[in-house]
């Protein structure tokens, strides 16, 4: 068989949602990605490296390889932390190629009836519906309130179930009422008004960390912004992309796109790095499915909260001192996927009383990576241990981050390791400094 000139060779991929051939051909195999990849660091196996994974995708496109079980495994073993994207001088996006391969996996290896039903129930019924998600968390809250959690944790009954269940249970923070239903849809700015922002409240934030997002909104208002939080916002689609369900992700994206553009806000802000990354990529995800001008307009408005505050400038007058030494863990979806790295540090340094102590490898993944930490719990522990070692070395009192996935994993890790650090979202710290 001879080489083809086909610009978008699909080869052994299914035609729907296949990686662009040009994107895999772009890799010149220099290996700059190797030292940045957590899974390559774990295994030392070339196929578990970004360079190797792109080579596998290229081989599938060139029909040197079928979409084999191993290709599927690699696509899910990739943390999608995007550290390789940051490191790649040639501009290859190996994480995205693997994300696309995840959706290919479902086309090639359909789940059994029960697995399919469970997956569809979670991705297509639960996540798109904020109400259903909230109701489903009710038993969990009751479970915590009634002290059953204490009993369960101490009696070790979870040891009997699958491994991930115990970890998932252990990771749950103390749950409060979801924020979505409590937050007014519109809150007026305080002081001299600086603009109008739409707040994208993520699912994990409203359910697991309502207190954090409450602070985010308080800070925005105090900083002079009118905050609009559309109550019918749907999930950003990140979990769907992560699980390879690009179709549902597109439906959610189309809904959110119109919802937020209709609000006529200057910016769309989120305090969840995962949501931010996903929203910023609607442009690629919805390519050809929505008007380009609309997508570009939406994209231009999206900001992570730390990026936003650093950009518009923090009003520091009146801030109360927070006397703490802190170290900062960079969420992958903030620093690698969004390129937001200097801004959170800038904010931390502006909070009176806060002393920032840099940790080594601040932008190395914590091992959470959506459901990766549950699927590969042993590997995740190793990635986490490396992170905790770096945290420990700083001797800081608090560990600050800016993404709920990292937050859950780090809080759990710190507790399990018996470390003294308090784990905080950057907005909690800023909220503490913000007067009522």
């Amino acid at each position: 068989m001879s080489r083809t000139d086909d610009k978008d060779l699909k080869g052994n991929f299914k035609p729907q949602d296949a990686p662009h051939y040009d994107d895999v051909l772009q890799c010149m195999r220099c290996g700059f990605c190797l030292p940045t990849c957590p899974t390559y660091a774990l295994t030392g196996r070339e196929r578990s490296s970004p360079r190797g994974r792109v080579a596998l995708a290229r081989a599938v496109a060139e029909q040197k390889l079928e979409f084999t079980q191993a290709v599927k495994e690699e696509s899910f073993f990739c943390l999608d932390c995007r550290a390789c994207t940051t490191a790649c001088p040639s501009g290859v996006r190996a994480g995205e190629v693997m994300e696309i391969c995840r959706s290919q996996s479902h086309a090639f290896y359909p789940l059994g009836t029960a697995g399919k039903a469970f997956r569809e129930f979670i991705l297509q019924k639960m996540l798109p519906s904020p109400e259903k998600l909230e109701t489903s968390m009710l038993p969990t809250r009751l479970y915590q309130r009634l002290g059953i959690q204490w009993l369960v944790r101490h009696s070790k009954v979870l040891k009997l179930g699958p491994g991930w269940m115990e970890k998932a249970e252990g990771m749950l923070p103390e749950l409060d009422k979801p924020l979505r239903t409590q937050l007014p849809e519109r809150i007026e700015a305080k002081g001299k008004k600086r603009g109008k922002v739409g707040f994208f409240l993520g699912c994990v934030m409203t359910l697991m960390y309502p207190g954090v997002s409450r602070q985010t909104v308080r800070v925005l208002v105090h900083q002079g912004f009118e905050v609009i939080t559309p109550r019918n916002t749907k999930c950003c689609g990140a979990p769907h992309l992560s699980e390879g369900d690009r179709q549902t992700a597109r439906e959610l994206a189309l809904f959110n796109l119109d919802l937020f553009l209709d609000q006529d806000v200057d910016y769309i802000v989120t305090d969840c790095a995962g949501c931010g990354a996903s929203l910023k990529e609607y442009e690629e995800l919805l390519e050809g499915q929505a008007e380009h001008a609309k997508l570009a307009k939406f994209r231009s408005k999206i900001r992570d909260i730390t990026e936003f505050l650093a950009e518009v400038g923090l009003r520091t007058e009146g801030l109360k001192p927070v006397n703490k030494t802190v170290t900062y863990h960079e969420p992958c979806h903030l620093c690698h996927a969004q390129g937001v790295s200097a801004q959170p540090r800038k904010l931390l340094k502006q909070i009176p009383g806060v002393e920032l102590r840099e940790m080594a490898e601040a932008s190395w993944c914590c091992g959470s990576a959506a459901t990766w930490g549950l699927k590969y719990s042993e590997e995740s522990q190793k990635v986490l241990d490396r992170k905790l070692g770096n945290v420990r070395a700083t001797g800081a009192e608090a560990l600050v981050t800016a993404n709920p996935g990292c937050h859950l994993q780090l809080a759990w890790g710190v507790r399990e390791a018996g470390m003294p650090q308090q784990v905080l979202h950057l907005m909690e710290l800023l909220g503490e400094a913000t007067p009522d």
Partner: protein, 477 residues
């Protein structure tokens, strides 16, 4: 094909986790960083000790399998591509720094230690390991020795060979050769050490390396000079050398390279300039001051468009780091980057730039040129698309003609990347049939059966050396 018995034996000797033979693993261990060359091995092993290397080699011998050693696969001449299949011995899991001897100023490491890790480990003890290949974050010491890698500091400090003091090496007949030691002077017998440096895995497999360390320079100054044309930049380099100043670094980038690197690093490199020189002088503070002044004077004399001095060490480091990404950054422009390693006497630099320009025009190509101008080592890189046969043909004609000039001027076909698969023809032209014949006889005395990294450096003229194609896979050349 390798037998299942042999696989079992390998697993017994090396441990199952260190023996890979699934096709997905084979597929990703059949390339290095050289475009257009790819071939599958039959098995890949990751030894963790010299004894395991020996065991793997014995099994390969028994099975009649070609043996190809490999590190991180950052090579740029195809040196670690297993063109005849066989066994790839990947040394990345032998990555311990065994000793840093502060009394003798040496470090002893296993072959799979990453270059930058060694650099950092000795720096922590106030010592300096000068060789710094562009891929230092990824490349291994074993690979550096085998390819005799150069780098950004080559001008003043030389290449890897200049720092190797001792090697431990497994030979195909199962013997272990140790050569050299910690004695600074050693003239006992043939110099195997120098022979093995740059032997590209064709004579033996290096498992342990002792390198020389030096005290770090006390001071340094970094300049960035911009030029309106490449020729003037070349003249500046020649004049600095003629003024008897040896900077530690004198790196050049042309406009295409500047723009690609800037796209990636975004540190404000001048996109409109035709050329840029990154110059670093280091040493004793008094000498640095004197040399820096002289360099600045020459840059003004030749009419550099602008001259900047890095204000901080971080700024200097970020400039050097940016330069290291040049080749990969060029890959933004086109799917394929075909790079060469032409090296000329420094007085010929300006002529070489003219020649590159002329040939770019003649063959209607897109070329980005960067390199270690101070040591005459240039990397003209054709930015092409391997799917375009006509363009690839023109690219090869470009290099063919360029090398004719380079050799006529007394240059060499490789400054630091080795010959591998990519430059066999050019090497034969450079050293002549007599030279190739002697190399073959040396190869014979180390590896009579021709099992070690066959098909590299020179053609063996062996009918069996035809590439080996596995069912279900296409192989590109």
């Amino acid at each position: 094909m390798i037998s299942t018995t042999a696989i079992e034996h390998l697993k017994e000797k090396l441990g199952a986790q260190n023996v890979l033979y699934e096709k997905e693993d084979l597929l990703v261990l059949g390339y290095d960083s050289t475009p257009g060359v790819h071939h599958l091995p039959e098995v890949v092993v990751y030894p963790t000790s010299t004894e395991q290397v020996l065991a793997a080699m014995e099994i390969a011998q028994r099975e009649g399998l070609p043996i190809v050693p490999r590190g991180s696969g950052t090579g740029l001449s195809g040196g670690s591509v297993p063109v005849q299949g066989g066994m790839v011995i990947c040394l990345t899991r032998m990555n311990r720094i065994l000793e840093i001897d502060e009394e003798n100023l040496t470090a002893t490491v296993e072959a799979g230690v990453v270059t930058l890790d060694l650099f950092n480990a000795v720096a922590a003890k106030g010592l300096f390991y000068p060789p710094d290949p562009g891929s230092q974050k990824i490349s291994t010491l074993g690979g550096n020795v085998m390819e005799n890698a150069g780098g950004l500091r080559g001008l003043k400090y030389g290449v890897t060979r200049d720092y190797v003091m001792a090697l431990k090496c497994v030979l195909p007949d199962g013997s272990i050769l140790t050569t050299g030691g910690k004695s600074v002077k050693d003239v006992a017998g043939y110099n195997f050490k120098d022979l093995l440096c740059g032997s590209e895995g064709t004579l033996g497999i290096i498992t342990e390396i002792t390198v020389k360390l030096i005290p770090p320079p006390k001071d340094k100054r970094t300049f960035l000079a911009y030029f309106n044309d490449m020729r003037t930049a070349g003249e500046a380099v020649s004049k600095i050398i003629a003024a008897k100043i040896i900077p530690s670094t004198m790196e050049i980038m042309d406009k295409a390279t500047i723009n690609c690197v800037e796209d990636y690093v975004k540190i404000g490199l001048p996109r409109q300039m035709a050329a840029l020189l990154l110059i670093e002088v280091d040493g004793h503070p008094a000498m640095v001051a004197e040399e820096a002044e002289a360099v600045e004077k020459i840059l003004r004399e030749v009419n550099a468009a602008e001259v900047h001095v890095a204000k901080t060490a971080e700024e200097a480091a970020s400039l050097a780091a940016a330069r290291r990404t040049a080749l990969s950054a060029l890959a933004r422009v086109s799917p394929t980057t075909l790079l060469e390693d032409a090296t000329v006497p420094r007085s010929r630099l300006a002529d070489t730039f003219d020649e590159i320009e002329r040939l770019t025009e003649k063959y209607q190509l897109k070329v980005g040129t960067f390199g270690h101008a101070g040591d005459g080592n240039l990397h003209p890189t054709v930015l092409c698309d391997e799917r375009n046969a006509d363009e690839m043909q023109r690219a090869h004609a470009f290099y063919n003609e360029l090398y004719e000039k380079v050799l006529a001027w007394g240059g060499t076909v490789s400054g630091e990347h080795g010959i591998g698969l990519a430059k066999k023809e050019y090497l034969a032209r450079q050293i002549g049939p007599g030279g190739v014949a002697v190399m073959k006889r040396i190869k014979q005395s180390f590896d009579p059966k021709g099992l070690l990294n066959p098909g590299k450096i020179f053609d063996e003229g062996d009918p069996c050396s035809k590439p080996h194609v596995e069912e279900g896979f296409r192989v590109s050349h």
